[in-house]
């Protein structure tokens, strides 16, 4: 039951894009086409879950026992950056087809604040390892859902007649605002 609450909470109620404002740059940047959005979502789900596992273990077994909590930011960002690089190399070697699908998005992920954000959030909310992984996976899934939904809307918007000064980013932001309003309907669910 508790797991279910974590999952619904992370995907819908506290959606990482619409209520936490993390990962907005790629959210606006790669949401022009549904196919790109799906690729990016896959890469994000993979990296966030993996990065959270590694950073959680580092915090638990290295930083906290040694009293090095203040090194958290530096440590996490370095781990994430090298992890992304490593995932890229491994994928290229083992499953070239998956690399084809996700590869171009991987370098972009290092500067996606959602990854570092989730890693820090997990520590702040003091989950255990299982809870942390489920939370990270569900949050990333929420990111994917938001990205794909938004890409679908933007594909339609390409075809519609929009005032000149609203074209591009402004209308995208306003659409995101309306989508965020819709997601507010989930609040109070858990």
């Amino acid at each position: 039951m508790e797991i279910f609450v974590i999952i619904i909470g992370a995907i819908f109620v506290n959606n990482i894009v619409f209520s936490q404002f993390l990962g907005i740059c790629p959210f606006l940047g790669v949401s022009n086409k549904i196919s790109t959005a799906i690729g990016m979502s896959g890469a994000v789900v993979f990296v966030i879950t993996l990065a959270t596992l590694v950073t959680f273990l580092i915090q638990e077994y290295i930083l906290t026992p040694m009293g090095l909590d203040y090194l958290q930011t530096i440590c996490f960002i370095l781990v994430i950056a090298s992890l992304v690089q490593m995932v890229e190399i491994v994928l290229k070697k083992i499953t070239p087809s998956l690399y084809q699908a996700l590869g171009v998005f991987l370098p972009l992920i290092t500067t996606n604040c959602a990854v570092l954000g989730v890693a820090i959030m997990v520590i702040q909310q003091s989950f255990n390892l299982g809870g942390a992984l489920i939370f990270a996976f569900a949050t990333a899934l929420g990111y994917g859902i938001a990205l794909i939904l938004f890409a679908g809307l933007r594909e339609q918007m390409e075809l519609s007649d929009i005032p000149k000064s609203m074209k591009g980013i402004p209308i995208a932001l306003i659409t995101a605002g309306i989508l965020a309003l819709a997601f507010m309907g989930f609040s109070g669910l858990v």
Partner: protein
């Protein structure tokens, strides 16, 4: 480029918030009130100025191949310093900005300036660039914060103008997207006329 131009470009022509759309996460996330926007902007400015100065000093020492990781380490250390200072001296602001302070590390604005400007220019121009861009970012965040606070709470910098509830949605999450969207559209409209 003269230094004055270098300084002022961050405010309008290359405003990180309204034109380049860099550092969107803190822009949307912390601007529930003008004071939060200002605090976040100043914290980012401090990191940006220092990182620009340090990177521009070290530009001949850092090998080209590992420059991005080196930049990130420098930025992350500075963010930690700023984070500890804020925790010590302005605990209430630290509380309300929360998660977004460590996330200054991944603010694309800072890495972007390091890569595009500080690694190619001398120390003084990098300092001016960092100051200008940082204040431009602060300016953008404060404007957005003011608009949201005014519409959402009928208040300016925490001073209540009308004693009533306001349009609550502007302080909540959707309001961030809506307010920024309309401000950018407004700026575009002025630009298209000119």
């Amino acid at each position: 480029m003269n230094q004055l131009q270098n300084f002022t470009k961050g405010f309008i022509k290359e405003s990180p918030t309204f034109t380049l759309m860099l550092g969107m996460c803190p822009t949307l996330g912390v601007t529930t009130s003008a004071i939060n926007g200002l605090g976040m902007g100043l914290a980012t400015t401090a990191v940006l100025i220092l990182s620009n100065i340090i990177i521009s000093c070290l530009k001949s020492v850092i090998p080209d191949k590992v420059r991005i990781p080196s930049f990130i380490v420098i930025i992350a250390s500075l963010v930690t310093v700023v984070q500890l200072c804020m925790q010590a001296y302005v605990p209430s602001l630290y509380e309300s900005l929360g998660l977004f302070i460590p996330l200054i590390v991944v603010n694309c604005l800072i890495l972007g300036r390091a890569e595009a400007f500080a690694s190619k220019n001398n120390v003084f121009s990098s300092f001016v660039d960092g100051l200008g861009m940082g204040l431009g970012f602060t300016f953008g965040l404060t404007i957005l914060g003011m608009v949201r606070e005014l519409l959402g709470n009928y208040a300016v910098f925490g001073h209540q103008l009308i004693h009533s509830d306001g349009i609550l949605v502007f302080v909540l999450a959707p309001g961030a997207f809506l307010a920024l969207g309309f401000i950018v559209a407004f700026i575009n409209a002025i630009r298209n006329k000119a």
